[in-house]
Amino acid sequence: MGLVTPELGTFIWMFIAFASVFFLLKKYAWPAIVDAIEERNNSIKEALLSAESAKEEMAKLQADNQKILKEARREREGMLKEAKELGDQIVREAKTKATEEAEKVVESARQAIESDKVAALSEIKAQVATLSVEIAEKVLRRQFEDDQQQKDYFQKLMKEVNIN
């Protein structure tokens, strides 16, 4: 049976051809192909992982941003409140100061009035004394003319003084 009998010639050709093709492919084709596929698989895997981590990072950043924004808002509110308080205080202080000042002015005015009054009174007193002296002088002058008249006059003068 020729069909199942190996042929030496074909064997030799096939052995040499297969061995050399195997050797050449092993040297020049397969490592490049297999390594490239593996390398690409790895790089895809890494890229997926890094994309995942980038996504997480992004979410974290976003959360951070939100937090910062919130904090900033709170800070702004605080600052506004503080400023308002400060303003109020200044206004209040100004008011107090103004009131004090006004009071001081009024006080000094009152004191001036008082002192003027005292001065006026003392002047009046002095005037009265002078008047009294003048009256007394006039009285003394009339004494010697008529006692009765003198008395009446005196009395009249006294009345006049009393009115004052």
Partner: protein, 362 residues
């Protein structure tokens, strides 16, 4: 799943390329010629054998009496007349002898080059570039060209998506690595065997497909040739044996888990195991050869039916041809599947043997 889709797509692509009709018509014409020329009765056995067996020339087409064949070099060394190199066209399709050599028509050496010595046929040492050898060399060059250029593409387009031929071959390469090498050999040691597995997978698949193409550069029955499958199996055997570790040899000569009296004084188990070392590659050789040859035989048998019935009456032959052609197309499509499956099985079993050879004790 994705790999399988791609594979099916490629198989479909080859289906389109393989004109099943051509295989029929080609053989048809050839036979009509033989019949009219020789005026001999049609012999389906010889017809089938001639188409399956190796040849010294490569038949392209025949029309009536006109044969067109590509002559191939005959290289023989004879003890009687020395070394000879000449073209097979000198035999004139087996009708004449040349330098004392001729093609045997009958007997043990039917279809082979023999030398007439003292009225006896003597087979010389024959390293002719036969149809199978040339076809095999063409596919080897094709494989080299394809994969070296694909490798170049990989180097050029590092880290980029696959493109063109590379995109078609990558799923198959990945399939061989991920579905054959890794599960059969193991994650740790598969790398070393990947080049061999890829080489035999693509060599077997390509030649299975080429065998289905009925005209040049196909038409040769390379993977249905016992010598070719023998060399492939021999490589698997050599690689398995060379890589066999301590554990592998221990399993053969001192199989664990077997009662001692099966090993001593009569080493029954070691003998059985040692036989297994040789039967494994032997089975690989026979399986590929038998599957491919059987497929071709069935196709040719359906074609023969046309001539058998045609000899009885032309009308009967015409009627039979309709049915036969239908079955031949069916078989050719089936053979496309077998071409892939046999390449897969040969590669997978080789990988399993390598896996056994490098398996660590556990």
């Amino acid at each position: 799943m994705k790999h399988i889709h791609r594979l099916l797509l490629i198989a479909f692509f080859f289906t389109c390329l393989t004109p099943a009709f051509a295989s029929v018509s080609d053989e048809h014409e050839h036979e009509i010629h033989q019949e009219s020329h020789n005026k001999k009765k049609f012999e389906p056995g010889n017809f089938i054998m001639d188409h399956i067996a190796d040849a010294y020339d490569w038949h392209v087409f025949s029309y009536g009496d006109f044969h067109f064949t590509a002559p191939l070099p005959v290289i023989v060394y004879s003890e009687h007349s020395g070394f000879h190199v000449f073209m097979s066209s000198n035999f004139h399709h087996g009708h004449s002898s040349y330098k004392g050599f001729e093609l045997a028509k009958e007997g043990e050496y039917r279809g082979k080059v023999v030398e007439m010595v003292n009225g006896h046929h003597v087979r010389p040492f024959d390293i002719s570039m036969t149809k199978n050898v040339v076809s095999m060399l063409i596919s080897m060059i094709f494989l080299l060209w394809v994969f070296i250029s694909v490798a170049k593409t990989y180097t050029k387009r590092k880290g980029q998506e696959p493109k063109g031929l590379q995109a078609y071959l990558e799923p198959i390469i990945v399939f061989v690595i991920d579905e054959i090498a890794k599960p059969a050999i193991g994650e740790k040691k598969y790398k070393k065997f990947v080049p061999f597995l890829l080489t035999i997978f693509f060599f077997i698949w390509l030649n299975n497909l080429m065998g289905l193409v009925p005209f040049i550069p196909g038409g040769a029955n390379v993977t249905g040739n016992i010598t070719i499958t023998m060399v492939l199996a021999l490589f698997t055997f050599i690689i398995t044996t060379v890589n066999g570790n301590k554990n592998y040899w221990k399993h053969i000569f001192n199989t664990p888990g077997v009662p001692w009296w099966l090993k001593f004084p009569v080493p029954l188990m070691p003998l059985v195991e040692l036989m297994g070392v040789f039967t494994k590659p032997f089975v690989l050789m026979v399986r590929l050869f038998a599957n491919i040859t059987a497929g071709h035989m069935i196709v040719l048998a359906f074609v023969s039916l046309i001539f058998i019935f045609g000899e009885m009456s032309p009308a009967l032959g015409m009627g039979t041809s309709v049915i036969s052609v239908f079955f031949v197309i069916f078989m050719d499509v089936l053979e496309l599947l077998v071409a892939l499956i046999q390449a897969y099985v040969f590669t997978l079993l080789s990988a399993l043997y390598f896996g056994m050879a490098v398996e660590e004790h556990h």
